[in-house]
Symmetry: C2
Subunit: 458 residues, 2 copies
């Protein structure tokens, strides 16, 4: 504790008011959007540039003090919760757009820039950053959790879209990983190692991501189905036809009800697909005609189209806000939200089994999915303070994960590992976990970066 | 040496004739397609399955004997040359297609399967494996060098197409990295760490790659230009328009002459683009009309179309064989072939400067490029036994690399590092090289895997 206090004192000389130990500030940095219990850091430091990040990390390395990076706080799995205390390193003030290379379709931003801020900034370039996890997450956080969302089916995840990074290593050195070129074959792919490392190998300070041309035409549609199987089979057939849909989202009846109540939509209570097509007018027409034919075969209603920007935005906002709609479905509840991803050939089986598990349980839940990737979310609507409900949600989640793994899938499609999923890591990766631990030990020998999470798994 | 001999004796008991120390066999495994001098392994072992790979690696780990994986031997940078002797581990007999998941657009193959073998095997599924580096390389080798080629502009490189791997670690353990799902956010991305690791972190024994639907229509075209700048500017404008060309290759006049002489084509001697479009008939028409308009603006001739499969194959075969055509350009020469990649906005400048360097030199050379990615190859036509010529090629190559790096690019777009490019690694990556070395030391503490290459760089 002496060592902690003297380090904080030394940092205070540089950071002044930007180092805070007040209860309210620590509380804000002690939780995220997950159901994980709050854990306060000993102090919060607001860095304004990468040299300041290096200063904090160097001091913590010297004294063996934990450092946990923090920005938007929108993690779904407790990534930013400082399990072992120490310093929560707040990067929200590092929100400069460093360089837009519009001719190269890429942009370099500081880690605290959020996706909405980025898209607002580049609005006039004819380009956009497509990755959309719902929350207005920071680019650094999105890289660290290998985030994706509704458009990954067309544009990929952060894995495919991060070209290069600036990173402060656990020893406080500043390095650049990768180049912004579309290809490079020079050395180990450190960029991809940091994408998904959840802040356990250092602090990402700058992110270079791909941008994509804003499509000439964007058309969204909603299609209701008689059965869940019909909706999911439509997705599978669409993907297997090689049609490059830009979004193809599934909502079960409970999720549709949530969207109606929370966002004031008047959708029919039925298993439903939200779709979006991008391209030239002729090509969008061609894609959507093909998908309409497929949907009709599987009992889908006619498509209801939204081509006006405001209608489309309302639709996707409603889709995203299903996550905040739990209160309207069951007052006082908090969703136990999780996600898995399976090969597309197993999607119908996986979704139907997840629904059947819920229907056979005393807790209720909703299923929503980025189904074009085989990725879907289950939200169990529980009151976590009731132990039986929490235990039941955990039992259902474990069945969900195991089934996904048995199908060749994964127990986390896009939310990452964070805290509660750590115990499943070895079940999916076996001895490869030892290699992850060895890499962590080599890069962060004192274990100061976001300790208690990835890289230190039994 | 006792230790080596006793290990070989012990392995011989299991492998019998599949462990060879004959001169001819060792010679075959002592060189590749690069200009690097031959270096013989002490022995060659032909493994037939991953357990046998683990057996060899375990024995070598025990005794501290170098292991260098080998398959097609088509490396351009000396990757498979056993710099420190030891065992060359031949994987060509591990050529089974393990599982085709045609509904999921993926396939699992042993590391020795070649890309042509794979495409022949899946011919009837309606799917194909697009990555085409020219040579009929093995999938394990392509993963290890992060290979790409003519179609990367549309379908990505091995980085984007390898979903999962089976790997024998330097300690002889068998691990699986990744899942075959389109997304996963569970732990460090070991798959991407092995893609491009050039056999220095273990032996890839199995590769799971994405497949893609065979397009309904494929149309190839050739377009000659008045100037190099016109050809390159057409590429830049095409990419910046967001048109998803499937291939867009540049050949300078020297390369066109090589293609004519070697493959019996009768192309006009001028800077030329080879193009290919994939999609539905309407969409191919739309894409090609747009590119034709762009080309016309930059002084391009009318497109000469090849829509018949045999004509297309002849065209692309000619393109690939430009690499073998050096003898026809200058009898007795051997090309010093290298490649760089730059941001597309700097492509014209980079290509023109490379041409100017050659024109100002006493050695001649050709430029060919996967220009849609900003990636191009320069082949200096030298007689390497003449020291002045070799020194001049090295001088020109160094200028090429430095210029690419100064433009935000990379000194190797797709050939990898191998041997001769090692000395440039720190110039591009700075202190990140220390992290690469730390990862190598953690995963391969005895340094037995392909020693003297990546991961052990000063």
């Amino acid at each position: 504790m002496t060592s902690l206090q003297s380090t904080l004192d030394a940092l205070k000389l540089h950071f002044g008011d930007r180092l805070s130990t007040t209860e309210a500030v620590r509380e804000h940095h002690g939780h995220d959007m997950s159901r994980q219990p709050t854990r306060l850091p000993d102090a919060v430091v607001y860095a304004e540039n990468e040299d300041e990040v290096a200063r904090v990390v160097s001091a913590c390395f010297e004294a063996g003090i934990p450092v946990t990076p923090f920005a938007a706080g929108s993690s779904m799995e407790g990534h930013t919760i400082p399990l072992k205390g120490g310093i929560s390193l707040d990067l929200t003030r590092m929100n400069r757009i460093v360089q837009v290379n519009h001719e190269d379709f890429d942009v370099q931003v500081e880690a605290g820039v959020t996706r909405k801020q980025l898209n607002a900034h580049i609005r006039d370039t004819g380009l956009f950053f497509p990755i959309d996890p719902g929350a207005d997450a920071s680019l650094g956080g999105m890289a660290s959790t290998r985030a994706s969302g509704t458009t990954a089916v067309r544009y990929g995840t952060m894995r495919e879209n991060v070209l290069a990074l600036r990173v402060v290593t656990p020893q406080g050195k500043i390095i650049t990983t990768g180049r912004r070129t579309k290809k490079s074959s020079t050395g180990y792919d450190l960029t991809k190692l940091y994408v998904g490392a959840e802040g356990t190998l250092g602090v990402i300070t700058e992110v270079t991501v791909r941008l994509h041309p804003i499509p000439e035409t964007i058309a969204s549609a909603v299609c209701a189905f008689e059965t869940m199987r019909g909706a999911v089979e439509t997705v599978v057939a669409t993907i297997q036809s090689g049609i490059p849909v830009a979004r193809i989202e599934f909502l079960d009846e409970v999720a549709v009800e949530a969207a109606n109540r929370h966002a004031g939509l008047t959708l029919k209570l039925a298993p439903t697909l939200f779709l979006e097509f991008h391209g030239s007018p002729r090509w969008v027409e061609e894609q959507s005609n093909t998908v309409r034919e497929i949907a009709n075969e599987f009992g889908g209603s006619d498509f209801e189209w939204s081509t006006r920007t405001e209608d489309r935005e309302r639709l996707w906002k409603a889709r995203h806000e299903t996550i905040y709609s739990n209160q309207t479905l069951r007052p006082g509840c908090k969703a136990f939200t999780t996600d898995v991803c399976v090969p597309i050939s197993r999607l119908a089986e996986a979704v139907l089994a997840a629904r059947e598990d819920i229907d056979n349980s005393f807790v209720t839940g909703k299923i929503i999915g980025h189904v074009g990737d085989g990725n879907f979310h289950v939200g169990y609507l529980i009151k976590p303070e009731i132990p039986e409900e929490l235990a039941e949600a955990e039992r259902l989640a474990e069945r969900l994960y195991q089934r996904a793994m048995d199908m060749g899938g994964t127990f986390s499609g896009e939310h990452g590992i964070g805290i509660s999923k750590l115990k499943y890591l070895r079940r999916e990766h076996g001895d490869a976990v030892d290699m992850m631990n060895a890499i962590k030990a080599a890069i962060d020998p004192k274990g100061i970066m976001n300790p208690g999470k990835l890289g230190q798994v039994e």
